[in-house]
């Protein structure tokens, strides 16, 4: 009967969209969204089927409650990536990569694993927050991508893999040398459903975090703790804004939560699998993973066994780098200096946050909440003030209660310390954020008067909504037109992407066999020609190439097959690098850019320039 009702509703709804004389939601936009949703579901459900079947055999207790779905999804996506890596290694990704991994993993459903979605109807707060999170993510997920990281990395890599079947990497595409744990499933989703499919897959996986937190709270006898943790997350701009993007931070957060859950339930195999997934998603989860291993309820021998297992799961990625002549941990280690005897700084830690003096480091978590900015490197994001409001009462509660809550808090604290030691971006805090949120929720509920803590947390959330929602709402409203099909995609992109005229010129006016080297720009996703390089923020690949090849840079590009150069005027400002002397800034940043400009002037032919983005022909 339910199926009949669903069919009736779907049928009438689709007929309404199709026949609407005002075409508020254009049918082609609705069909594109449905196709993307179908692709995301195919990859996501396939992964859950495979992951849950494996866990059913190796760590069945992890599937006992609502947390099981998150475990299954994380492990399943890792299996999907390993299958994709094998197919790419055999040169078979293009015909088989989009569907075969999902089909194989989907066979796991035949074993009828006991995985289920679990939302307690009494948890209105959690259900409401889940709705808000998904609603806030849907519009960005369905709009054409304009996010810098998506264009450069998170979507351009999957697109490149889906179209060529090749796994990029090395100095020309260093991000491709990371473990591609999410990007291979993204590539499958992209091939099946376009750019929105990987983002819907990401949104679905990130959304699973919230019911998992609820289930964990219930499992520890404090059912409201999960809702409070979810409120901390969803009340924060940095979490909400990331839901509808293709990104790795929230999937890494899901994996870290699974690591800690497996550790506290004494499931060594589950711990190994989840830790392998977490580290494969982001090496920067190491702090949270180490914290989980420290508080794990298992003997040291089992922890060592789990650690070795996790590292074994990473070896295919390390072997891939080693076979390509790179350091296994490239690009994080083994980056060869561009010139003998010089150092090349990979990350300028001083650039982020509010200082690196001991007092600054001690205050970094507080400042990340109270004085972060969405649009500057002062933490580059925004968190709800409820994180701070909850802390004192939660600490009181955590000191009173025993058991897993204290261990969760210790793991969260270790993850937080690791973040303090690294770059102070809020998005780097996200992988450990659900663990900290859960610890705070449990602490508030464990305090003598939980109502006081809930009130503090609720009021602070309410007062923080302005700062956390205002940057988001205009962006959401801006996407309504293009998502419903009322605004053409080209017009939307014209409004958002300065380099688009140059990219369009490349797509329309260069030969099909042109190869475009991209310097100081990140629009790779929209370039419909093979590309080399591309870079964001500190523009490491671009600068490294220019420092490495010096005046012979154009010859080196020609030797690599490049026929054109797309270059953005980067104009590195001293105020962005106040910790560098002028000489250091010139040597590492301005000189390479100027040198490229000089060589292009003397050897290239300018074909197009607008908004400081130029296209040069460099073929002889």
């Amino acid at each position: 009967m339910r199926a009949a009702g669903a069919l009736l509703g779907l049928g009438v709804g689709l007929a309404f969209v199709w026949l609407d004389p005002e075409a508020a939601l254009r049918p082609e936009a609705a069909l594109a969204a449905l196709q993307a949703l179908g692709a995301a579901l195919a990859v996501g459900l396939g992964a859950i089927g495979g992951g849950s079947a494996l866990l059913q055999r190796l760590a069945p207790r992890l599937l006992d409650d609502g947390r099981g779905l998150l475990h299954a999804a994380v492990i399943g996506l890792m299996l999907h990536a390993l299958l994709g890596l094998g197919l790419a290694g055999l040169g078979l990704f293009v015909p088989l990569g989009p569907s075969l991994p999902s089909l194989l993993l989907g066979l796991g459903w035949l074993s009828r694993p006991p995985v289920r979605a679990e939302l307690n109807r009494n948890e209105a707060l959690l259900i409401g927050l889940l709705g808000v999170f998904v609603a806030a993510g849907l519009l960005p997920a369905l709009a054409p991508p304009v996010d810098t990281d998506e264009l450069y990395y998170q979507l351009s890599l999957p697109r490149q893999i889906a179209e060529t079947g090749l796994l990029p990497g090395g100095l020309l595409r260093p991000d491709g040398s990371r473990p591609l744990l999410l990007h291979l499933p993204f590539a499958s989703a992209y091939a099946l459903g376009g750019a929105s499919a990987p983002r819907l897959l990401h949104l679905g996986l990130a959304a699973l975090l919230l019911p998992a937190l609820g289930a964990w709270g219930r499992a520890l006898g404090r059912p409201a703790a999960g809702g409070l943790a979810a409120l901390l997350l969803v009340g924060s701009y940095s979490v909400l804004a990331e839901g509808g993007l293709a990104a790795t931070n929230l999937p890494a957060a899901a994996a870290v939560l699974c690591v800690l859950d497996a550790a506290l339930r004494g499931e060594a195999i589950g711990l190994a699998l989840a830790a392998g997934a977490a580290l494969g998603l982001k090496y920067t989860t190491a702090g949270g993973v180490a914290g989980a291993f420290l508080v794990a309820r298992m003997p040291l021998r089992q922890r060592i066994f789990a650690g070795v297992g996790a590292l074994l799961l990473l070896t295919p990625w390390w072997a891939r780098n080693a076979l390509a002549g790179l350091h296994p941990l490239f690009p994080y280690a083994g980056w060869p200096p561009p010139q003998p005897g010089t150092e090349f700084t990979f990350v300028y830690l001083e650039k982020y946050g509010a200082g690196r003096a001991p007092l600054d480091l001690a205050l970094a978590p507080l400042r990340a909440v109270m004085s972060a900015k969405v649009t500057s490197f002062r933490f580059l994001g925004k968190l709800s003030p409820a994180w701070v409001a909850a802390a004192p009462l939660a600490l009181w509660g955590l000191l009173r209660i025993r058991g897993d809550a204290a261990r969760i808090a210790i793991a969260g604290a270790i993850g937080l310390l690791a973040w303090v030691a690294g770059p102070h971006w809020i998005r780097h805090l996200l992988p450990i954020a659900p663990v900290i949120a859960l610890a705070l929720g449990l602490g508030v509920e464990g305090a003598p008067r939980p109502a006081a803590g809930r009130l503090a947390l609720g009021l602070a959330t309410l007062l923080g909504l302005g700062a956390n929602l205002l940057p988001l709402l205009p962006a959401l409203a801006d996407r309504v037109g293009v998502v419903t099909g009322q605004e053409p995609q080209a017009a939307f992109l014209d409004r958002h992407l300065d380099p688009l005229p140059a990219v369009r010129f490349v797509n329309e006016h260069t030969r099909d066999d042109a190869v475009v080297a991209v310097f100081f720009d990140w629009s790779l996703f929209y370039i419909e020609r093979p590309t080399l390089l591309g870079s964001v923020e500190d523009h490491i690949p671009s600068r490294d190439f220019l420092l490495r090849h010096g005046p012979g840079s154009l010859d080196a590009l020609r030797a690599l097959g490049a026929t054109h150069v797309l270059v953005r005027r980067a104009g590195f400002l001293q105020k962005s690098y106040p910790f560098l002397t002028k000489a250091e800034l010139d040597r590492a940043f301005r000189d390479p850019e100027a040198q490229l400009g000089e060589r292009l002037l003397l050897e290239g032919e300018l074909l197009f320039e607008r908004h400081g983005v130029a296209v040069w022909k460099i073929s002889p």
């Binding site: 099909d512 042109a514 002037l601 003397l602 320039e609 130029a614």
Partner: protein, 287 residues
């Protein structure tokens, strides 16, 4: 204006090059700031062409519409679109010229005007029309993109791309409908028209062509690789690629060279606007 006062207020002095700091705001389209008929058109902080300066007497005018890619002519500016039109510049505020055909389709390159006619490129056609004429003459084309068309009425010329990556010069007589291919074979770029002549560069030479008689003159030069040519009273000015640097040269012998690169020449009588590294400069030829 009193002639001696105007001369005193005018920019530059014979034999000197001076930087024009007040007009040095970077433009979204690097072909601006531009000189046309003694007027310098420069940009606002948003990179839109927003102001004009008469070089002879320093008279400054705020343009009625600021856009990134207008057509500038000798004492006029044309802006396509519903808010656009053609304005003549003079001693007072810019004066709108009525009855200019409305252009709303997306353009493949900036339009051009000689103040009496307008030419523009879409992705599939070249269009030209006289100011005051509501009928646009159109001919099918595959413009190379980015390069504006050129006007030497009744001829309009453009860089055609028969296939991506290929470029030849094409010209069309708006009145007779005749269509001609320019001399030279491949690699044509940066066509500009004035006084019945077209000039452009290809990979080895500069061309000056009179389309009516088909008389053509080629000058060997490595030019036009990064900036358009300039054509003024039959004199072509261009960037010349020397070993290790760029200098400016004009076919009447005027040259600007020195440390750094001299780029993007725009000639107007005895004045030459150009860029030296990132600075906008105005050079006045010695008398």
């Amino acid at each position: 204006m009193i002639p001696w006062l105007a001369a005193a207020l005018g920019l530059g002095a014979p034999g000197l090059a001076l930087p024009l700091y007040a007009h040095d705001e970077p433009c979204a389209d690097p072909r601006f700031p531009a000189v046309a008929g003694g007027w310098l058109f420069s940009c606002d902080a948003q990179g839109r062409v927003a102001q004009a300066l008469r070089l002879d007497d320093g008279h400054a005018v705020a343009l009625p519409v600021a856009v990134e890619q207008p057509a500038v002519g000798p004492g006029c500016i044309y802006v396509p679109g519903v808010n656009g039109g053609l304005w003549r510049l003079g001693d007072g505020a810019p004066e709108a010229v009525g009855a200019v055909a409305l252009v709303v389709e997306p353009l493949a390159a900036p339009p051009v005007t000689d103040c009496a006619h307008i030419a523009l490129l879409t992705d599939t056609a070249v269009q030209a029309f006289a100011v005051g004429d509501r009928v646009r003459r159109s001919v099918e084309a595959r413009p190379a993109g980015w390069y504006p068309p050129a006007l030497a009425w009744p001829w309009v010329a453009w860089i055609e791309a028969p296939r991506p990556g290929e470029r030849v010069l094409m010209a069309y007589n708006v009145e007779s409908g005749e269509r001609r291919t320019g001399p030279g074979v491949q690699g044509a770029r940066h066509v500009i028209g004035r006084d019945g002549l077209f000039a452009w560069a290809d990979d080895a030479q500069l061309w000056l062509w009179e389309p009516m008689s088909q008389a053509a003159r080629a000058t060997p030069a490595e030019a036009g690789f990064s900036a358009p040519l300039s054509l003024d009273r039959g004199v072509i000015c261009y960037e010349e690629r020397q070993a290790g640097h760029l200098d400016l040269r004009c076919t009447d012998g005027l040259a600007v060279q020195g440390p750094g690169h001299q780029r993007a020449p725009q000639r107007s009588g005895d004045r030459l606007l150009y860029r030296e590294d990132d600075r906008l400069m105005l050079y006045t030829a010695p008398r």
